[in-house]
């Protein structure tokens, strides 16, 4: 298999790792981490495509990655501060109540 394929598979795997975490962790921080991981997987894709793509001089992939890194940083900051604010009100970062929600 070509190296590009392996990179794609790797990034897909990382993506699903992040997704699994985001879907199955309790703590909202962990969910945030998962999302970050997914972003990174996407970045890896970009870089790989740029590297193996027909026109590497276009730099599009690299630029996209740089920008998405910046966005991810901002997202982490805001997300964490939101989580912090929430935590200050309800003393927990859990996404689902500990006891079964009664309805």
């Amino acid at each position: 298999m070509t190296p590009l394929t392996s990179y794609l598979l790797l990034s897909a795997f990382l993506f699903s790792i992040g997704l699994a975490g985001a879907l199955s962790r309790r703590s909202s921080i962990m969910v945030l981490i998962g999302i970050e991981i997914m972003l990174n997987a996407a970045n890896l894709n970009f870089i790989a495509f740029w590297r193996f793509g027909p026109a590497p001089t276009a730099l599009t992939g690299v630029m996209f990655t740089i920008f998405s890194i910046a966005v991810a940083a901002a997202e982490a900051a805001v997300g964490l501060s939101i989580i912090l604010a929430v935590y200050r009100r309800t003393r927990s970062t859990d996404l689902e109540p500990t006891e079964a929600p009664h309805r």
Binding site: S16, S24, F52, A74
Partner: protein, 170 residues
Amino acid sequence: MTLVFLILAAITILGLGAAMSLRNPVHCVVGLTIGFLGLAALYLQLGAQFVGLTQVLVYVGAVAILIIFAIMMMRSSESPEQQPYSRSWRVGVAIAFAVYCVLGWAVHFGAHTLPTQAATPELSVQQIGDALLHRFVLPLEIIAVLLTAALIGAGVLALQDPAGEVRGPR
């Protein structure tokens, strides 16, 4: 499919996997850091030096530290929480796995269309700078604005008291 790639991929997968699966949040962060480093190494190996170093600078230097701080402030670092996974975590994992299968299938299915030539592109920081300031200057500006907004917003959010009133920076 070189040895280096395999090693780096293994490191990354292990790190991120640990980050997502360990019980203790701090361990998770450490794993995350390792994973990020692995990714940065992958970028370097792909010839995207600048991006790789930026990855380290931002993710390890900023994001990981940020998360650590958050964990510290929520004091949930002292004792590993009782049940770190949601009650129906299996579903989540299953869905994730399904996603992976689909993606894998997609990759496999489109493999023959993928470009194979790998002429190592010579990428200097110079070029990136030029591109940033000429072709991508608008996104750059927008990102700058976004970061500023995020900075302010994060500050305001984090300064909020449980009482709700905003405390000054001092």
